[in-house]
Amino acid sequence: MPPKPDLTPRPRAEFVCDTAGSILSIRIRGEIDHHTAAAIRQGIDATLFEKRPKTLILDLSAVGFMDSSGLGLIMGRYSVMKELGGEMTVWNPSPETRAILTLAGMERLVKIAYPQGEEPTADGESSGHGQPSRTAPPRKPPCQRVTATPSTARTGSRNPRNPRKRGKNGLVYETDPRKEKNA
């Protein structure tokens, strides 16, 4: 039988994550709505419970659209990080996501940080277009890519059994943390 044509729609959202020491940074790309949020959430939680980072950096710089489902996604990951005894930061939210973050008063719940010199001014515009500063989360090799297509989404296991490698502090490293000094 000839193979069935792949009619899976191109994913509208995906994320890439990167570990450096006890910091896990996750960069979401695409549109965050109710449809895409479910798979992003499952994928992130699976990673969080596997790696148990002290700090989660949620990079929203490549998010082109976000509605209140994104607020739920952030609030939910905040709770997970609290459960894990860690903290989280929303990193460099794109102009498309800032209005809703402000409306929700998200800065009262989580830290929202920007690269130096790129903090938005009162009118909502970025003050400069400089290079990302040293405080930017690592953008090195992706350790996992999860798309928001339900069939390919990982189910969130809250109890990962087989960590691959353990570092000194008991954290699981995907990349060698010693090479990630700037993170």
Binding site: P9, R12, E31, D33, H34, H35, A37, R41, F65, M66, D67, S68, S69, L71, G72, L73, M75, G76, E96, A99, I100, L103, A104, G124
Partner: protein, 159 residues
């Protein structure tokens, strides 16, 4: 603040109108907001205005899918009507025939949600209200919900 006063300022005549009917599937959320944005773009709206409209539409359509038809085994249907009114105003109506809302006033409160387990934030109506100029919600338990939003676009001198 009276809601009726806010909606009566949008009494302009209808210049153009589209109707979209779509199955209540979450995959259609992005299509719905994109279609409304494409239709409204004939008014040459600003970037922020179009972003606000997309977000507000996404909220209303998502609510119909997540809440309106939560107990309906078959896929429900959502009707979207977008009208361009004289005076650079847009009227967007999003209608479902789902379960309805018993207490609309309570549902509109920020952070109120009946689906915390689904990681809803309870901010949908707050977004619709903040990103448009007027919001009307009519609902009847067992019959369905109609959300109507109006937005006046800034002057850009095209229409």
């Amino acid at each position: 603040m009276s809601r009726t006063r806010r909606t009566t300022q949008f009494s302009g005549e209808i210049l153009n109108k589209i109707q979209i009917k779509l199955p209540a599937l979450s995959v259609n959320e992005s299509m719905a907001r994109a279609a409304v944005a494409a239709f409204v773009s004939q008014l040459d709206p600003g970037v922020t205005e179009i972003a606000d409209i997309k977000c507000a539409v996404s909220e209303a359509v998502t609510n119909a899918i997540v809440h309106g038809y939560r107990d309906t085994p078959e896929t429900g249907s959502i009707a979207i009507t977008v009208s361009i009114l004289s005076g650079r105003a847009v009227k967007i109506e999003i209608k479902d025939k789902g379960c309805g809302i018993p207490d609309v006033g309570q549902a509109r409160q920020p952070l109120y949600t009946t689906d915390a387990a689904g990681e809803r934030s309870g901010m949908g109506f707050t977004v619709m209200e903040s990103f448009t100029d007027a919001l009307k919600v009519t609902s009847k338990v067992g019959k369905g919900t109609t959300v109507t939003m109006w937005k006046k676009l800034s002057e850009r001198g095209r229409i």
